[in-house]
């Protein structure tokens, strides 16, 4: 029985060790596959490079959050103390910036941290309760002790049979098709 290509998310291979996974990821990329992703129970050093990920946008988003928090924080205090409700206390300056530094600092951290976390989640498209990879039969082990490499069906070079064979030749423990729905 032939399944239509669009019903398939990809082909998933299971590995026992991080070394095997990194090696397989490198070989898949070398073979010309572009839509390759790995699923691991902990961040694996060297995997991002093997899969050819570029630098993430998280640091930039964090910087923007920090600047907005700090700039906005200082502007808020300036506006409230010097413009909206100016109080002349013994001729002291209204824009008493040294006393505004602490709140500015705290809001910088708050802005940066909030943007870092929400930015990371947004870029990862989380929360996303369901995803096709969960259909993979042994995928529960991806949060335990196994390492998975998935070549997605959207890849131009993807072919149900040939891609599966390719993965099997990489010393995969187990190769399985991942249905889309």
């Amino acid at each position: 029985m032939i399944e239509h290509r669009s019903h398939l998310y990809g082909v998933m291979a299971e590995f026992d060790t991080t070394e095997q996974l990194i090696e397989a990821a490198g070989k898949a990329r070398a073979a010309g596959y572009k839509r390759v992703n790995a699923y691991t129970p902990f961040p694996v050093e060297g995997l991002a490079e093997a899969l050819g990920f570029r630098r993430s946008a998280v640091p930039l988003i964090t910087l923007i959050g920090g600047l907005l928090g700090g700039g906005g924080g200082f502007a808020m205090q300036y506006w409230m103390s010097a413009i909206s409700y100016p109080e002349n206390i013994g001729g002291r300056p209204l824009n008493s910036w040294p006393s505004f530094i602490i709140v500015t600092f705290e809001l910088t951290i708050l802005g940066a941290a909030t943007f870092a976390v929400l930015g990371m989640l947004a870029l990862n498209k989380l929360p996303q309760p369901h995803h096709p990879v969960f259909n993979s039969p042994r995928f529960a082990l991806a949060s335990n002790n196994r390492f998975f490499l998935c070549i997605e069906a959207r890849d131009a070079k993807f072919d149900r049979v040939r891609t599966a064979l390719f993965l099997e030749n990489l010393h995969a423990h187990d190769v399985a098709e991942v249905p889309d729905e």
């Binding site: 026992d16 060790t17 991080t18 992703n37 790995a38 699923y39 691991t40 129970p41 902990f42 961040p43 694996v44 995997l47 991002a48 899969l51 990920f53 993430s56 998280v58 640091p59 964090t62 808020m76 205090q77 409230m80 103390s81 909206s84 409700y85 008493s96 006393s99 505004f100 602490i102 709140v103 600092f105 705290e106 809001l107 951290i109 708050l110 940066a112 941290a113 909030t114 870092a116 976390v117 930015g119 990371m120 989640l121 870029l123 990862n124 989380l126 929360p127 996303q128 309760p129 369901h130 995803h131 990879v133 969960f134 995928f139 529960a140 991806a142 949060s143 335990n144 002790n145």
Partner: protein, 460 residues
């Protein structure tokens, strides 16, 4: 596969490993998640939780009575307007600092031994900050107006006074709580996914699944996750220093003798870490014993924490000496008088007790024999907790009780409601910890797997 038995030569065995040998990815997953998923809830847990929760009820009752009657039920009055509320606020918030130090600063310093203690230390931070936050809130007298401290557009047409350290505190503490929560929750996401994949009844699976936000361990996700986590650590590090600095400015900015000194910020930060590590030790020792986590929280952890406690204790000791030195070196006769009042005034026994608890007791930690003696270490950590509470008591109360003019002098003694509120927060803190231990993994499973990967690499 993975970690076998690392062959550590005996001469290096002198310091215990951060992870006992023989663990694999699967075994750490199994062992830590079993505490939450498969282990039956023990009788001890129920007894402990009941006691803690009863004390938390005492807190709720005390707060309800306070709201009914006003702050007159406490021992505070003119001139000592800052009693237990502020003492406990500073004490609790200080305890929280060790959690952030362990999770953020030790991460940046690449200290592997942080891995198995960071999760519950972070939880401790969150719960301690919750307890801390209650005190200034109810100390305002009209806590239902506490939102006035935030700058929101209002019909009165006024804004908070941003030149006041008390407003700085509002921003510092609320930022601290938020960032600590982010740090803790982001760290939890992969572990929640592990629990989701291992939980049995459908309901549990759904709850953990919702909390895990659909985490699937994608390499692309890990890549961003790690960046975000590291950035959070980098942000939390200056934050934790700033929070206790701001707390110390509540005192140091005032012109009260004994408070108005520049040593306060560093001395408060060191004191916070000191008391925080004492609390982490107090909690870690029973935790590893009850849940059989000696493989993960090893003697190495206890010994290292004891060393941090000793080091910060010495900084605190330096702070005490400098307080005296500056009083007599400086020109202010009120400062000199207050310094002498510490030794001869109405609260002198508290001062002697705090010197005993904070300066003399930790000196035993110079000896390795004591650092690796678990019951003694536990005892010392309790003594330090008490000592740091006494320190805040002396700082807060004595300076207010012995102001410039003898006619303005007064005394402060806590009432039943002071004590019940304080003991109640300890109950709340412990009750939350009991719930945490039961519902969430006390040790970061994902990071333990990384540790397994690293230790097996070292072997090669």
């Amino acid at each position: 596969m993975s970690a076998g038995t690392p062959n550590i030569p005996p001469e290096l065995r002198r310091s215990a490993p951060v992870l006992e040998p023989g663990h694999t990815y699967g075994s750490v997953t199994e062992k830590i998640s079993a505490i939450v998923l498969t282990r039956p809830t023990s009788m001890g847990w129920f007894v402990g939780f009941s006691i803690a929760f009863s004390l938390a009820m005492l807190l709720f009752m005390s707060v309800a009575y306070l709201i009914l009657k006003g702050t007159g039920i406490w021992g505070i009055n003119i001139p000592v307007g800052w009693g237990f509320a502020i003492v406990n606020f500073v004490w609790w918030i200080g305890i929280g600092h060790a959690g952030t130090l362990i999770s953020a600063i030790l991460l940046l310093l690449n200290q592997k031994w942080r891995t198995s203690i960071n999760r519950f230390a972070e939880a401790m931070t969150l719960f301690a900050v919750m307890c801390a936050g209650i005190f200034p809130l109810i100390h305002t007298g009209r806590p239902w107006f506490a939102y006035w401290m935030f700058p929101y557009p209002n019909t009165m047409g006024i804004w908070p006074q941003f030149r006041s350290p008390l407003i700085w505190d509002v921003f510092a503490v609320s930022t601290y709580f938020t960032v600590s929560f982010f740090f803790w929750f982001v760290g939890l996401i992969p572990d929640l996914a592990t629990l989701r994949d291992r939980a049995h009844p459908r309901a549990k699976q759904v709850i953990y699944g919702m909390l895990a936000l659909g985490w699937r361990g994608s390499a692309r996700h890990w890549h961003r996750y790690q960046t975000a986590y590291l950035l959070l650590a980098g942000l939390a590090t200056p934050l934790v220093v700033s929070v206790h600095t701001v707390v110390s400015l509540d005192f140091a900015v005032a012109l009260v003798p004994g408070w108005h000194t520049t040593i306060f910020p560093p001395y408060f930060v060191a004191g916070a870490i000191y008391s925080g590590f004492a609390m982490v030790i107090t909690l870690a020792i029973p935790l590893r014993k009850v849940y059989g986590l000696e493989d993960f929280i090893t003697m190495r952890h206890l010994e290292n924490m004891a060393k941090v406690m000793l080091a910060t204790g010495l900084i605190v000791g330096y702070g005490y000496v400098i307080e005296f030195f500056m009083a007599f070196y400086g020109p202010d006769k009120f400062d000199k008088f207050l310094a002498l009042q510490r030794l001869t005034g109405p609260y002198r026994y508290f001062y002697f007790a705090l010197i005993f608890c904070n300066i003399i007791t930790p000196q035993f930690l110079w000896l390795r024999k004591i650092r690796i003696n678990v019951p003694l270490l536990f005892l010392i950590s309790i003594v330090v907790n008490i000592g740091m509470w006494l320190e805040r008591f002396v700082i807060v109360v004595l300076s207010l009780a012995r102001d410039y003019t003898p006619s303005a002098w007064g005394r402060y003694a806590p009432t039943f409601w002071d004590w019940s509120t304080y003991i109640g927060t300890i109950g709340l803190f412990l009750a939350l910890l009991f719930l945490f231990v039961r519902a969430l993994p006390v040790i970061s499973i994902a990071e333990m797997r990384e540790l397994v990967a690293h230790t097996s690499e070292e072997k090669k």
